[in-house]
């Protein structure tokens, strides 16, 4: 099994604040990789580094064997052009905490947008695919609705469909259920569970310990910019080894 994501000593600072202090981890192909930890621990920042929404300051980050944001020639690193970064992002889907659907487009137009604009797919073909994807996330009847006419859970499912429309080989989830009413969380998790079963490689920043335990293949507990503990989610969540992990889990479980 090759690693889909590989981090070696990843550092990231915002000004004087060091958010990531050397992250080493490996996400295998086809696995559901959960990142948990208190807010401010750097888990979302790390996720955003994977598709180069944030630039890392030190270390190396690989996606599918290729360096993120740079090209290596000999022992020199060359920064990638914006267009090259965009090309790599096509293969990485991302789902945001605040959905970030395009409010001036209907659900189906949101899902069609990237295939048409980025891949040059015909509108008719893109529309058919978009409808199929919306059906997959259980929103076939909401295709013509604008995001403001959808509930949070429905918006997040459209956002997942939108990311899937690009046929990504890796999906990043940045606290996908944190902005949802408790009763809407289940629908979104169901879609994610479905996606996991289909073999998608997923990196999930989450506070849903139940999801991590049931669906997760690996789990990392981060605190203060470092990986404190990692392993099988069922082991880590039921029998944490570090005091910090124990303290965190005792509060959220």
């Amino acid at each position: 099994m090759t690693a889909m994501v590989k981090a070696e000593g990843v550092h990231k600072s915002f000004g004087a604040v060091e958010v990531l202090k050397g992250i080493d981890l490996e996400v295998k192909q086809g696995e559901v990789f959960c990142l948990i930890g208190p807010s401010g621990s750097g888990k979302s920042t790390f996720l955003r580094c994977i598709n180069h929404l944030e630039k890392i300051n030190a270390g190396r980050l690989y996606v599918d064997g290729e360096l993120v944001g740079y090209r290596q020639k000999g022992d020199k690193l060359y920064e990638l052009k914006d267009s090259e970064v965009a090309l790599k992002r096509r293969d990485i889907g991302m789902v945001f905490q605040r959905f970030n659907l395009f409010p001036h487009m209907t659900a189906v137009e949101n899902v069609m947008e990237a295939p048409v604009q980025v891949k040059g797919m015909s509108r008719g073909q893109a529309r058919d695919r978009a409808r199929a994807l919306l059906e997959r996330v259980g929103l076939a009847d909401k295709a013509g609705n604008y995001p403001s006419q959808l509930s949070g859970g429905q918006q997040q499912r459209v956002a997942i469909a939108r990311a899937l429309a690009m046929d990504p080989k890796l999906m990043l989830f940045d606290e996908p259920t944190s902005a949802l009413d408790p009763e809407l969380v289940g629908d979104v998790l169901d879609v994610m569970r479905d996606l996991a079963e289909s073999g998608m490689t997923m990196v999930v920043v989450t506070h849903e310990m139940g999801f991590a335990r049931e669906v997760g293949d690996s789990l990392v507990f981060m605190d203060d910019g470092v990986v404190v503990e990692s392993g099988n989610p069922r082991d880590v969540l039921t029998d944490p080894q570090h005091d910090r992990t124990k303290a965190f889990l005792s509060k959220v479980l």
Partner: protein
């Protein structure tokens, strides 16, 4: 929109639910409003009376209102307004994007442009354009075009460039505010999908920025329509200049100024209506239902008057 709640009161089946008895109360009396209305009407009447008694030949205004020269002048005013605004809007968006660009060269150029064109009076700019022949004796575009500046820079072109380039500087600031008002998450989402910077701007950011840009732009259009009267100084025969000319030859100068004012007021009123519908268009998706158009409001009011019992539902 599919809603599960049945809003149709009194369907064919079942008994119509009896609505609760409406509150009957004596409304608050606003005596101050009556008094202020009377005062305002009295003042208006006094002003109208004063003007009617003045040495103004009011009869001359309707005589010339649809005069061919006036209509041609009005047409030119509209033409300059539309074309100068077109230059202004396109230039403004371009400058705003340049200004927000990561590239220090383009952002500096945009900054300098805005600094210069916003910092000098448009009247001065107009006259300078007209007289730029002092600097550039000839305009020479190689094999395509070559002419003396004074022949090249016609009153029309002076008016267009002078107003348009000045407007671009103002529109740039309006557009910049609009672009900054769009949530950063939108750009991130588009980038995460692999969209390029240009595509993200064109497809995602600018359409949403329009909602913020359109209202002040409508203001700018109305302003522009009135500012076109300045180009009379560079010999362009627009509405104001025509009115002045007719005034001098017909011996009714003041009357023709009132005529011009009436035309400007009429045109700005028409533009205001257009602005309302444009704002409505760009509001789509931002709120659950669009605000009704004036016609829809009137229709709804008529409907509610003729059929009080079943007003709600339907149009919503």
């Amino acid at each position: 929109m599919t809603v599960d709640i049945d809003k149709t009161a009194g369907g064919p089946a079942g008994t119509p639910p009896t609505p609760p008895e409406a509150i009957k109360a004596i409304p608050v009396r606003h005596y101050g409003r009556y008094v202020s209305a009377v005062v305002a009407i009295a003042l208006l009447a006094a002003v109208v009376y004063a003007f009617s008694q003045g040495k103004i030949n009011w009869g001359a205004i309707p005589d010339y209102f649809f005069d061919d020269r006036v209509l041609t002048g009005m047409g030119k005013t509209l033409l300059i307004t539309v074309l100068a605004m077109l230059i202004g809007v396109v230039g403004g968006i371009l400058l705003a994007v340049m200004r927000l660009s990561k590239n220090p060269v383009t952002s500096s150029i945009a900054w300098f442009y805005i600094w210069f064109f916003r910092g000098t009076p448009v009247l001065v700019q107009l006259v300078v354009w007209f007289n730029l022949g002092l600097v550039f004796e000839y305009i020479n575009l190689g094999p395509f075009y070559r002419d003396e500046w004074s022949d090249f820079m016609t009153p029309f072109l002076t008016a267009l460039l002078g107003l348009g380039l000045n407007e671009a500087a103002y529109m740039a600031e309006i557009c910049r505010a609009g672009l900054l008002a769009v949530d950063e998450g939108q750009t991130e989402a588009a980038h995460a999908l692999g969209m390029s910077h240009t595509k993200t701007l064109r497809r995602i950011v600018v359409p949403q920025a329009m909602r913020v840009i359109v209202p002040p732009t409508g203001n700018e259009v109305i302003n522009m329509l009135k500012t076109t009267s300045l180009v009379s100084v560079v010999q362009y025969a627009e509405l104001f200049r025509v009115a002045q000319d007719i005034g001098q030859t017909s011996g009714a100068p003041a009357e023709m100024l009132f005529l011009a004012a009436a035309w400007y007021l009429l045109l700005t009123s028409v533009f205001s209506v257009g602005q309302y519908y444009l704002e409505r268009y760009y509001a789509r998706g931002s709120s659950r239902s669009l605000p009704p158009t004036p016609m829809q409001k009137i229709r709804a009011n008529l409907f509610s008057l003729s059929n009080r019992s079943s007003t709600t539902g339907g149009a919503a």
